[in-house]
C-alpha cells in the first residue's frame, strides 16, 4: 500500500539504449559469477544479443577482501548485434574496496557505480591496500561517475531478520539484492531467476524463500528509493529468427562431441587429465553416461592421449582435452597417432604461458606448438574456434576430418571463449551433416591380401577394428612399408611415406570452405587476418571503420593447417595485411613463410583479450602510414 503510493509519486525516466556493459565485481566469496550468469540468462531469454567474460583468480579462494581475491563477471548485452564483452563498462557493481580498485579503471567516464558500503570499512580498505586514510567513496576519486553507495549487507540482513537463517546464509544472499536492483535498473523480469532459485533449493525451501525475498528487496529498492531516477530499456536484438540458447565455448565443445558421435555412429571416448581451463569439458561429458559416453580420467596427460589412441584403435570416436602444459606432454604420443594414421581429436584450450604461466588467463600462444611441436615430420590438421558457439561447428568439423581422413586433429580454443558465453541459434539435429566411417570388413588387396596402409584417392588408409575376422594385422611407431604397413627402414620408402602422410593432410584443403572475408570486400587497402578468439574484437573494429568509410576487411581463419586453398591469392588483393594475435606473432610466422606477404603483426600478451579500440588504433595507424 504504502510503497505503491511512493511508486506513484516517483518519476522514473525510461532511457532507451541499444547496448550496455555491466561488470559485477566482488570477492571470490560474493557469488559474482552466479549473479552475472543469472543476469545474462535473463537478458538472453528476453532476446538481447550478448557476450560475457568471466574473469577470476587462479587461487581457489585468495584471502578475503584482497585484490588477489577479486572475481569479476562482465556482460555486454544489447538490442543490436554484440561481438565482444566490451572494452569498458557502463555500470560497475563493486562489492568491496578491492573490487573497486581492480575494476574502476575500465569504467567509462560518467558511468554508474553501485557499491556495497560495508565492503569499504577500514578493514577492507586496508586489505585492498588503499593508503591509510583513503576514502575512495568520498574523497573525490569517483567524482567523474554516478555513484550509488548502498549498505547492501545491512539491507539484506534487515530483510531477513525473521527468516531464522544463520548470519552466514543471510550474508551469502546479498548478491541477490544486487541482482534484483539491476533487474529493476534494466527493466527485466525476475521469473527466470525465481524459478532458478526454487529449483536449486528444492531441498531447502527456507533458503529459496530468503533468496527470493532479498531479490525482491533489491528490485523494490530501485523502484522505491528516490536515488534511482532512470531505468534503462534495451529492446530485444534483431537476431535472425530461430530458437536460441546461451552457451559457453566449453559447453559447445561438449554438445559438438555428442553430436559428432551421434552423426558418425561412433561411440564417444574421452581420455583426459584435469587442467584449467579445459576441465569443464570432462566434467560436462561425464554426466552423459546415460548416452553411453565413456569418460576416462587418466593418471596423467600421456595416459589421457594414450588411452584415447587405444580407444580409437578399437573404433571409437576418441578425444583428449587439455591445455598448454598437458599439450606439451602429449606430443610424443601425437607422433605415434600420426604414424598409426588413426582418428583422434586433441583439444587444447589455451591459457597464459609459458610453463604454468597464468592458468586462468587467456592466450593464443600454442599455435606453433600445435603446428610443429612433434619430432620428425608429423604434420597434422589444426583448426581454431573463434567464438563460444563456434566451438560447436569447429569440434564437429574436426571430428569429421579426423574420421574421414584418418588423422589426429588438433583443435585450438582458449580460456576466453571457453568460459565466455553468447546466444546460439542451435541447429536441428536433422540438419547436421553426417560423418561417414567405413570400417574395413575384408581384405582390400589382390588375392585376399590385407593392405592396412593401402590408401584411397585422398591418401586415406582404411580403419580396421580389432575383432574383425580375418583382418588381423600389426601397426606401430616404426616407419612402415607403403601399403603393407610392415616395418621398413628402406630409404626411398621412408621418403615416400613421409610425403604421403603430408599429402593426406594437404588434400584436406579440398574439403574445407574457401577463405572469404567475414566483413568487408574481397580486396582493399587493409585486411585484418585473425584466428581464434580475436574474432569479436576484430569484427567490431572492422565494422566500425567500414562505417567510418575506411576500405578495410576482416578475414577469419578457422583452418590453420591446411590453409584454405585460395588464401594466398586473397591476401594479395589487399595493400596491407594486419594479423592481431594474443601471442608474439605465430600465425604471422606461418603466413609470411608460406605466402611471402609482408604482413604486420599486432601482439597482445597480457592474458586479456583484445579490445576493439586496440585493434582500431593499429588499423588506423597502418591506413595512415
Amino acid at each position: 500500500m504504502d510503497t505503491i503510493e511512493k511508486q506513484r509519486e516517483k518519476i522514473v525516466a525510461k532511457k532507451e539504449v541499444d547496448h550496455i556493459v555491466v561488470r559485477f565485481s566482488g570477492d571470490s566469496g560474493d557469488g559474482m559469477q552466479l549473479t552475472g550468469m543469472q543476469f545474462t540468462d535473463t537478458a538472453a531469454l528476453y532476446g538481447n544479443d550478448l557476450s560475457t567474460f568471466p574473469d577470476f583468480p587462479s587461487e581457489i579462494r585468495a584471502p578475503i577482501g584482497t585484490v588477489a581475491g577479486v572475481s569479476g563477471f562482465q556482460v555486454h548485452f544489447g538490442s543490436r548485434e554484440i561481438f565482444t564483452p566490451g572494452d569498458s563498462y557502463d555500470v560497475l557493481v563493486a562489492m568491496n574496496a578491492a573490487a573497486l580498485k581492480v575494476d574502476l579503471p575500465k569504467l567509462r567516464r560518467g558511468g554508474i557505480i553501485i557499491v556495497n558500503t560495508q565492503g569499504f570499512d577500514k578493514k577492507n580498505l586496508g586489505l585492498a591496500k588503499y593508503p591509510p586514510d583513503a576514502d575512495p567513496l568520498n574523497d573525490g576519486t569517483l567524482s567523474n561517475y554516478t555513484i550509488h553507495a548502498i549498505d547492501i549487507t545491512k539491507l539484506t540482513k534487515e530483510c531477513l531478520v525473521d527468516s531464522g537463517l544463520g548470519t552466514k546464509e543471510v550474508e551469502r544472499s546479498k548478491n541477490m539484492f544486487v541482482l534484483g536492483l539491476l533487474f529493476w535498473m534494466f527493466d527485466k523480469e525476475m521469473d527466470h531467476t525465481i524459478k532458478f532459485i526454487n529449483d536449486k533449493f528444492t531441498k531447502k525451501p527456507e533458503i529459496a524463500e530468503a533468496n527470493i525475498k532479498v531479490l525482491q528487496a533489491g528490485w523494490n529498492y530501485g523502484d522505491n528509493t528516490e536515488i534511482f531516477t532512470t531505468q534503462f530499456k534495451i529492446g530485444p536484438a534483431k537476431l535472425p529468427p530461430g530458437t536460441y540458447r546461451n552457451i559457453t565455448g566449453n559447453q559447445a565443445i561438449v554438445v559438438g562431441l555428442l553430436a559428432a558421435s551421434e552423426q558418425s555412429g561412433l561411440p564417444l571416448f574421452i581420455g583426459s587429465y584435469p587442467i584449467t581451463p579445459a576441465t569443464d569439458i570432462l566434467h560436462e561429458l561425464s554426466k552423459y553416461k546415460g548416452n553411453g559416453v565413456k569418460t576416462f580420467q587418466a593418471e596423467d596427460e600421456i595416459a589421457g592421449i594414450a588411452s584415447a589412441i587405444g580407444a580409437s584403435y578399437t573404433g571409437s570416436l576418441a578425444v583428449t582435452t587439455t591445455s598448454g602444459p598437458g599439450m606439451a606432454l602429449k606430443t610424443e604420443a601425437m607422433g605415434l597417432a600420426t604414424m598409426l594414421e588413426i582418428p583422434l581429436l586433441i583439444i587444447d584450450v589455451q591459457r597464459g604461458g609459458p610453463s604454468t604461466g597464468l592458468p586462468t588467463k587467456t592466450e593464443q600462444s600454442d599455435l606453433l606448438m600445435a603446428m610443429f611441436g612433434r619430432h620428425g615430420e608429423a604434420p597434422l590438421p589444426v583448426l581454431a574456434a573463434s567464438t563460444p558457439s563456434d566451438c560447436f561447428n569447429t569440434v564437429f568439423e574436426a571430428c569429421k576430418i579426423a574420421v574421414e581422413h584418418m588423422t589426429p586433429v588438433i583443435l585450438l580454443s582458449d580460456g576466453y571463449i571457453a568460459n565466455g558465453s553468447e546466444p546460439w541459434r542451435f541447429p536441428n539435429a536433422e540438419d547436421l551433416g553426417t560423418i561417414s566411417n567405413s570400417f574395413l570388413q575384408k581384405a582390400n588387396g589382390a588375392d585376399e591380401e590385407l593392405l592396412p596402409y593401402k590408401r584411397n584417392e585422398l591418401f586415406v588408409r582404411p580403419w580396421i577394428k580389432p575383432g574383425t575376422k580375418g583382418l588381423e594385422h600389426r601397426i606401430g611407431g616404426l616407419e612402415k612399408q607403403d601399403e603393407t604397413g610392415n616395418v621398413s627402414y628402406e630409404a626411398a620408402n621412408h621418403e615416400k611415406m613421409t610425403m604421403l602422410r603430408a599429402a593426406k593432410i594437404r588434400a584436406i584443403e579440398n574439403f574445407i570452405p574457401l577463405a572469404a572475408p567475414d566483413t568487408g570486400a574481397d580486396h582493399g587497402r587493409l585486411l585484418v587476418l585473425g584466428w581464434g578468439s580475436t574474432y569479436g574484437a576484430i569484427k567490431t573494429a572492422v565494422k566500425e571503420l567500414l562505417a567510418e568509410g575506411e576500405d578495410v576487411a576482416h578475414l577469419h581463419l578457422h583452418h590453420i593447417n591446411p590453409f584454405p586453398k585460395n588464401l594466398g591469392e586473397l591476401l594479395n588483393n589487399y595493400d596491407k595485411v594486419l594479423i592481431p594475435e594474443m601471442n608474439s606473432g605465430q600465425l604471422l610466422q606461418l603466413i609470411r613463410a608460406k605466402y611471402l606477404v609482408p604482413a604486420t603483426g599486432l601482439s597482445k600478451v597480457q592474458g586479456q583479450p583484445f579490445t576493439t579500440a586496440e585493434i582500431k588504433e593499429k588499423m588506423l595507424q597502418l591506413l595512415k602510414a
Binding site: V255, S307, Y313, T314, E472
Partner: protein, 346 residues
C-alpha cells in the same frame, strides 16, 4: 582348462598365431621361447583369433606383437599399459595382452604400470625381465642388481633395484606371477592362469639376453642349481624345494624359516601351505627375491604368488553406464543441442 578347450570356436593351431613377419631377435634370445609358449597356449583359450590384441611398448621384447598373427600395436616406450587400458575400456570383448620389458614397464612406464594394477582392467601383462636395456645395447635397468657393470655403470650400478612382484602388490595388483623362458611347460600354465584371471594379471617372465646379460637366470633353470635356487609354488601345496625335496619353509611367527625335512625336529606338518589368496603371505613370498630373513638365503619363487579377483575397471564402467541408461535414459541429440533454457525470435 577343459571347459575352455570345449568352447574352442575355431580349431586353431600354434601356426595360426605366427605372423608372416620374420622374427628378428638374436640367436638364443629368451624371447623365442616366450613367443613359442604363447603361440602354443592361445589355440586352447577358446577366444576367436580376431579378438586377441597385443599392445607392446618399445624394446626387444616389445617387438613381440609383430610376430603374433593377431591384432597388435607396437606402440611407444612405456605407454603400452595406458593404450591397452583405452582398448579394454572401449571394447571389453577383446582379450588384451600387454608385452613389455623391464625398462619399458618399470622405468619409463612405471606410472602407467602401477595405475593399471590399481585400476584392474582385465588385461594380461607380460613383462619380459632380462634385467637390462637390450635394444639400446646394454644399460642397467630398474631391475638390474646393484653393482652391475653396464655401459652406463662402468664402475657398477649404485641403484637398489625394484622387486617387481612387491611393487605390483603395493600397487594393488590382483594377480602376480613369475615364470621363466627356459621352463616352457611352467610358462604355458602361467599364461593360462593369467588368461583365466579376471582383472589385471601381472606375469614377470625371466628372459635371458645372451648378448647383454647372459645367464642372469640360469641358476633357476640349470639342473645343478635349479632345485636349490627355485621354489615352485602351487596353491594348497607346502613350500618345498631343494635337491630331492629336502627343504621346506615354515613360518616362525612372521618370519619365514627354511627347515631341513630330512632331520627330525620341526617338519612337514608345520610347513607353510601356499595360499594364492593370502596377500600377507604373497608379500612375504615376493620378498624372498631379496630379503634375507634372519640371514637366510631363500630360493626364488616361481608360479602364482597372488590371485584374488575384484571387480574390473571395465565392468564398473559398464555397470555405471547401464545404471544411468536405466535411470536417465539416453538424452536425444535435439535435447542436448537445445539445453534447458531457450528462447525464440520470430
Amino acid at each position: 582348462m577343459e571347459t575352455l578347450t570345449l568352447e574352442k570356436p575355431q580349431s586353431l593351431t600354434a601356426k595360426d598365431f605366427s605372423s608372416d613377419m620374420e622374427v628378428k631377435w638374436c640367436p638364443g634370445c629368451g624371447d623365442y621361447s616366450i613367443l613359442k609358449q604363447v603361440q602354443t597356449v592361445f589355440p586352447d583359450l577358446g577366444i576367436p583369433k580376431e579378438n586377441f590384441v597385443f599392445i607392446s611398448g618399445i624394446g626387444c621384447s616389445s617387438r613381440f606383437s609383430y610376430y603374433m598373427d593377431t591384432y597388435g600395436m607396437h606402440s611407444i616406450h612405456g605407454r603400452a599399459a595406458a593404450i591397452a587400458s583405452g582398448v579394454k575400456a572401449a571394447n571389453p570383448e577383446l582379450s588384451v595382452w600387454v608385452v613389455s620389458g623391464d625398462g619399458d614397464s618399470m622405468s619409463i612406464g612405471g606410472n602407467h604400470f602401477i595405475h593399471l594394477m590399481r585400476k584392474n582392467f582385465d588385461i594380461n601383462y607380460l613383462m619380459f625381465n632380462n634385467q637390462i636395456y637390450s635394444l639400446t645395447k646394454g644399460q642397467y635397468s630398474p631391475t638390474s642388481e646393484k653393482g652391475k657393470i653396464t655401459k652406463t655403470s662402468p664402475y657398477g650400478s649404485i641403484e637398489e633395484p625394484f622387486n617387481p612382484s612387491e611393487l605390483a602388490l603395493g600397487a594393488k595388483a590382483s594377480f602376480v606371477a613369475r615364470t621363466l623362458d627356459r621352463d616352457p611347460k611352467h610358462m604355458q600354465g602361467i599364461l593360462r592362469r593369467a588368461h583365466q584371471h579376471r582383472g589385471t594379471s601381472f606375469v614377470e617372465v625371466y628372459q635371458n639376453c645372451p648378448v647383454f646379460n647372459d645367464g642372469a637366470f640360469f641358476a633357476f633353470s640349470d639342473k645343478e642349481t635349479k632345485k636349490e635356487e627355485a621354489l615352485q609354488l602351487e596353491d594348497g601345496k607346502p613350500l618345498v624345494f631343494g635337491n630331492d625335496e629336502n627343504k621346506g619353509i615354515i613360518l616362525d611367527g612372521l618370519t619365514p624359516v627354511i627347515v631341513d625335512l630330512k632331520e627330525g625336529g620341526r617338519g612337514r606338518d608345520e610347513l607353510w601351505i601356499h595360499d594364492e589368496k593370502d596377500k600377507t603371505k604373497a608379500n612375504l613370498i615376493a620378498r624372498f627375491f631379496d630379503t634375507a630373513f634372519d640371514g637366510q638365503h631363500f630360493p626364488r619363487p616361481f608360479g602364482v604368488m597372488y590371485a584374488e579377483e575384484r571387480p574390473t575397471y571395465e565392468d564398473n564402467m559398464a555397470a555405471q553406464i547401464e545404471l544411468q541408461k536405466e535411470k536417465k535414459g539416453k538424452q536425444p541429440l535435439q535435447k542436448i543441442l537445445s539445453g534447458d533454457k531457450t528462447w525464440t525470435i520470430f
